[in-house]
């Protein structure tokens, strides 16, 4: 068990190293990042100065080592838009993104798990058909459009909820629902198929023949076993939520890291873009690491040698 956690930890470090390469080369896709950063009115001398200040005149290998050794210490340079360390700003905004993502995940699970179970138990019933239709719709709909539709209904017409910002707790409702619906759609389908598979297993039949009630069979015997694939996909979906937050935060002007990224990209604030990408990736990797550890807790069959 300890060996497993350790080996996954090493893998995590390797993946983060790969991410650092992705981030490093991405801002250099056009060759010299100064071309991306410099305001159009800068003359050659100012550009040269800026280039030297950022160390872009050094050999690529040296630049990468400097970047990595600073990144490891949490130093991504200064955001020139905010004129403060990029890292500080990222941490500040990340809290809002995590809040939004957790609320969305909670909504997603609350809808998906019961809906998936009922669909599996009453296969081909009206509820099953309806939830299939809703799930297809939820996957096909662009999340930002759903957000806009909610604004039209609840802000413009009913005047019930604020259309943007994060000034009051109510402001969380619409962005979280917007993100959560997509997750619910994907997760409910998976819960249904995982439950269907488990319900036909011998141990479920045994549980039934033992005279256990439907509730005990479904919740204690079936659902616990169906949870393994559900948890896996849930982890991947959290990554999708982080991605979706970029667009949904922009729709609702939610002050999270996603919206900050769009702002930073628009003004070509390279330090912020690098730091933001790094932390999105780190969050995603840590979530999946946590999921691997959760496996051990929910599946006693998994033993690690």
């Amino acid at each position: 068990m300890r060996a497993f956690i350790l080996s996954r930890l090493i893998q995590l470090v390797v993946t983060m190293f790969m991410v650092s390469l992705v981030v490093f080369f991405m801002v250099r896709l056009r060759g010299d990042p100064i071309l991306v950063m410099a305001p159009p009115n800068f003359d050659a001398e100012q550009i040269a100065k800026l280039r030297a200040a950022w160390g872009f005149d050094k050999p690529l290998g040296e630049q990468y080592i400097t970047f990595l050794s600073k990144a490891v210490r949490g130093d991504f340079g200064k955001s020139f838009q905010a004129n403060r360390p990029a890292m500080e700003l990222v941490i500040e905004r990340l809290g809002y993104t995590y809040l939004l993502a957790s609320a969305a995940a909670a909504i997603g699970i609350t809808i998906a798990i019961p809906l998936g179970i009922v669909s599996a138990l009453k296969r081909n019933s009206l509820i099953d058909l309806l939830s299939t239709a809703l799930a297809s719709l939820g996957t096909a709909m662009p999340s930002f459009w759903l957000g806009l539709m909610l604004i039209i209904i609840f802000s413009v017409h009913l005047r019930m909820l604020p259309a943007f910002g994060a000034l009051e707790p109510r402001a969380l409702i619409m962005p979280a629902v917007t993100l959560g619906v997509g997750m619910a759609a994907r997760l409910s389908r998976l819960t249904r198929s995982a439950m269907l598979e488990v319900l036909s297993q011998d141990y479920v039949r045994t549980a039934r023949s033992k005279g256990l009630g439907q509730k005990a069979v479904v919740l204690r015997h079936a659902l616990r076993n169906a949870l393994i694939p559900i948890v896996t996909v849930f982890g991947l979906q959290l990554g999708w939520l982080l991605g979706g937050s970029v667009v949904v935060e922009s729709v609702f002007s939610w002050p999270g890291l996603g919206r900050q990224m769009i702002d930073s990209i628009n003004v070509r604030d390279i330090a912020m873009v690098q730091a933001g990408l790094f932390f999105f990736a780190l969050s995603f990797i840590l979530i999946n690491y946590a999921i691997d550890v959760i496996y051990i807790l929910i599946d006693p069959r998994i033993r690690f040698d």
Partner: protein, 297 residues
């Protein structure tokens, strides 16, 4: 050997079988209809478009759906420059189809080859290639694309390239997994025993047996790509005006969300229905191509 070949259905039956399964599956038929309509609109849009999608009519600004004047009826209303929403939706289908098809062709080709090599060669190269995939997959797709288009710049051609060059990772993962399964099959071992070269085994014996997974995945990816394009254009990081795209229409609509609901409602329906059609078509393709479902084993 001869008996085996004789028991296989002749190739021309494939089309008949496709049509037959299509008729049995309402979802597949719906998907095909939607996709056909969207593709036809993309091809022949200008011929059927009731108004000019780019030139506005300043007297017909912000008109509600159903408004009509001397120039004709505005079925789905008009926007801030008096342009017909319906005509613009037709014009926007062109970008969606183009981006969806071309990006998926690019990413599919790269991803299939990458996964094929990684899974076939195995060993250290495989581990290295998969670590690179892990690194790319760790950054959520849309964030990666947003950041790259910020650095490289926006525009239709660039956007297609960006989506094509970032989307291959999913295929690489899936195809590698399939190759690992197929690699150990008896017919592959037999091919080696017959003295086939490794490259021939990889391209002639393994590739054809993993390609159906790639096709099913490609259908899903067309939907993902259409959604990504609309998100990027909506955020101002994708296609630029005057090119008409559904994402840009939504971005316009957002500014007038308090007064002109139709500007945001209809382009979104167009995206949703299109993606839904692609997803349905993909579901049907999976059933059609999956040998297990077909009982051909």
């Amino acid at each position: 050997m001869t008996a085996d070949i004789a028991s296989l259905p002749p190739r021309r039956n494939a089309l008949l079988r496709a049509i037959a399964t299509m008729l049995q599956s309402p979802v597949g038929a719906t998907g095909t209809c939607i996709v056909t309509v969207v593709v036809l609109l993309a091809l022949f849009g200008p011929q059927v478009s009731p108004h000019d999608p780019i030139k506005g009519n300043l007297r017909a600004r912000f008109k509600e759906p159903g408004y009509s004047d001397a120039s004709g009826i505005y079925r789905l209303g008009s926007d801030q420059l008096g342009r017909d929403i319906f005509s613009r939706i037709i014009a926007g289908s062109r970008v969606s189809v183009l981006v969806g098809v071309v990006s998926v062709l690019i990413s599919g080709t790269i991803g299939v080859l990458y996964g094929l090599v990684s899974g076939f060669v195995g060993g250290r190269l495989d581990s290295l290639m998969m670590r690179i995939v892990d690194g790319l997959l760790a950054v959520p797709f849309i964030i990666l694309v947003v950041a790259i288009s910020g650095v490289v710049g926006a525009g239709l051609g660039t956007l297609i390239l960006i989506l094509g060059l970032t989307g291959w990772v999913t295929y690489a993962r899936v195809i590698r997994g399939e190759v690992l399964k197929v690699r150990e099959q008896e017919y592959v071992i037999a091919a080696y025993a017959l003295g086939q070269r490794r490259l021939v085994v990889m391209l002639r014996h393994i590739l054809p047996n993993v390609i159906s997974s790639a096709i099913v995945l490609a259908a899903v990816q067309v939907g993902v790509t259409v959604l990504a394009e609309s998100s990027l254009s909506f955020l101002g990081l994708g296609v630029k005006p005057p090119t008409v795209t559904w994402g840009l229409m939504l971005s316009d609509g957002r500014q007038y969300i308090n007064s002109a609901w139709w500007m945001t409602t209809f382009p979104g329906i167009a995206i949703t229905v299109t993606v839904l059609g692609v997803v349905f078509l993909g579901d049907w393709l999976r059933d059609f191509l999956d040998p297990n479902v077909r009982g051909r084993g």
